[in-house]
């Protein structure tokens, strides 16, 4: 039994390593001009949404707290990351109408003394900063709202996300947030390149994938820890959990804050992948989309959330493209296959999942369970 567990975690570890290696290799061979670059876009955006979905699943799936504030925390993360990575040379172009109040750029600051290692470290610090900022607001928002039950919690968190969006667009905060104008020219994925000797290494896709992978590993570890089990107990039966000595307020707050932290990190990733950050993009609709990815993968399954996000992104950005541009699966019907049809088909698929396959792709299982089940079946056959 124990031996088996160890084997499963070794296999998972090697698979993750192989996957990261593959992405690194793809980064070197597929250039933006390549036809296959769509794959890289999907990997980049997919990892943003995968982390967003996994962090939402921590709350909605594992702790049973139906929260719809994710877009707000992602916004905080995106802005924090963007503000702290705008190089001083670009600052005045970005803050066209304001006098920029925050004049620090971590990558720039550290690269002055440490070279390219400093840039890497600076990006890492900015990403962590983004998470911490989101977690801090998550904590503050959690204080009043976590006492609320199910749908009231949903609508209150949704409300807070809207408030955050308004605050970030407020002209009076322009020196920090650039008001309703967008932030740009900060450290984005297209700049993630290093010169090692004579070879130029590209990390444009590798960096977001790596951040998402590390973050998801941490979340998985948390979910499998004694705290994660307590979250599940709260989800299954709050009254019983409290009677067994689990402090509801404290554990809900931990789950909410951790989820906000990683939502902030995914917001930072979104900023670096899209090269812009604009508050008006982080609407409730974004939260709904992430929720639907979680549902697609199966509420309560981390691997499900990852699969759901990548499918969602791949389908809407790539596979179903034809539905928008006149030709799909060899059928030409420009009258029907025009702009927006892809999303219609897509939402119909999602409704079918919601209504008829309520457990999503994975149910509450994980990919690693599949190995175990096979083992069990074999044992039984013997």
């Amino acid at each position: 039994m124990k031996q088996n567990e160890k084997k499963v975690s070794w296999i998972s570890f090697l698979l993750v390593l192989a996957f990261l290696g593959l992405v690194f290799w793809l980064d070197q061979i597929i250039k933006p001009t390549n036809k296959m670059y769509m794959l890289m876009t999907v990997l980049q955006k997919g990892s943003v949404y995968a982390l967003a979905a996994v962090s939402m699943n921590l709350l909605n799936g594992y702790t049973g707290l139906f929260s719809l504030g994710h877009a707000g925390f992602m916004l905080i993360g995106a802005y924090t990351y963007a503000i702290f990575t705008i190089p001083s040379s670009a600052r005045d172009t970005v803050y066209q109408y304001f006098d920029a109040a925050i004049r620090i750029s971590f990558p720039e600051l550290l690269s002055n003394s440490m070279g390219s290692a400093g840039t890497v470290l600076g990006v890492a610090i900015a990403v962590i900063f983004a998470g911490l900022a989101a977690a801090f607001f998550g904590y503050l928002i959690g204080l009043p709202v976590l006492r609320l039950k199910s749908d009231y919690l949903a609508i209150a968190t949704l409300g807070f996300a809207e408030i955050i969006r308004a605050v970030f667009q407020w002209q009076k905060l322009g020196p920090i947030t650039n008001g309703s104008n967008l932030l740009k020219n900060f450290m984005r994925t297209s700049l993630f390149k290093l010169k090692v000797g004579d070879t130029k290494l590209v990390f444009s896709t590798f960096v977001p994938v790596l951040i998402a992978t590390l973050s998801i590993i941490v979340i998985v570890k948390l979910v499998n820890s004694t705290y994660g089990r307590a979250f599940k107990a709260i989800r299954d039966d709050e009254v019983a959990a409290e009677a067994m000595g689990i402090n509801l307020a404290k554990h809900k707050m931990i789950s909410f804050t951790v989820s906000s932290f990683f939502a902030g990190v995914s917001g930072a990733m979104m900023a670096m992948v899209l090269s812009i950050a604009q508050a008006s993009n982080f609407k409730a609709a974004m939260t709904y989309e992430i929720l639907l990815m979680v549902v697609l993968g199966g509420i309560g399954s981390t691997s499900g959330s990852v699969i759901g996000s990548f499918l969602f992104v791949a389908a809407s950005e790539w596979w179903l493209r034809g539905l928008d541009s006149g030709k799909f699966l060899g059928i030409e019907a420009p009258g029907i296959f025009r702009n927006g049809f892809r999303l219609v088909v897509f939402s119909v698929i999602i409704m079918i999942v919601v209504l008829f396959f309520r457990k999503g792709i994975m149910g509450e299982r994980e990919i690693s369970d599949l190995f175990r089940e096979k083992k069990k079946a074999k044992g039984a056959a013997r």
């Binding site: 599940k232 039966d237 402090n247």
Partner: protein, 283 residues
Amino acid sequence: MRKDKPCILRVEDVTMQFGGVVAVNNFSMEEYEGEIVAIIGPNGAGKTTAFNVITGVYAPTNGRVTFDGRKVIENFPRGKMKKGYLGENAGKYTDHLEPTPDKLTALGMARTFQNIRLWKSMTVFENVLIAKHMKRTSNLFSATFGGNRAEEKRQRDEADALIETVGLSDVRDEPATSLPYGKQRRLEIARALATDPKLLLLDEPAAGMNPQETVELTRFIGEIRDQFHVSILLIEHHMDLVMDISDRIYVLDFGSMIAHGTPVEIQANEKVIDAYLGVTDDA
């Protein structure tokens, strides 16, 4: 009576009023270490309400609960209740102590539920293991990053040992809710024991059980008391079980206590017989 032992639970003048309805009226009781005490009474007598007050689910309108020599719950008619209070001893208590149930569990009270509340997505083992969460010394970071391996292993071993003791080893990895009813009850008790309680509170442990299962449960409760050195407070309808294992019994009717004493005394008590209208076993 074991009055030579220290008092584990003392309930004083507890009144619970919902709006204009007094569900429990001026209820007092005590339990000494190692005792099995039962609260009985007809349906709607206020047993479960009293139970919920003691375990911290409801804050009493008035009264005090002392557990293990420590005042844990106290309240007096406040706010809207100040005017509308219908009970007695209104001026006697002045403190306001209203802990959440988990605080009481941390002090050493653990309970089961009338309508079994197991964590349904989890196995038997996990149900017991999670109850150990309260005893952790690890923080969020050490738990996440594996800094608590020794503790984790110890808790797993303890959970396994407990499952072994209560005789559920053969269903250790089954989903908790797939067990037959009697075993689910047993698991709920095991889960409560996993918190290392001093006082175990059982809310109608024999509800819905057949006579055979009830006999087994009676024996099981006795064993637990001796093996785990806990005191037990239970609410029950099954008179056989109550008369069999209780050291003392409190009888509630319409929210008020009408009698208390040993099983023999209670069986002979006129008021009790009247309250039950001659029905001594309404299982």
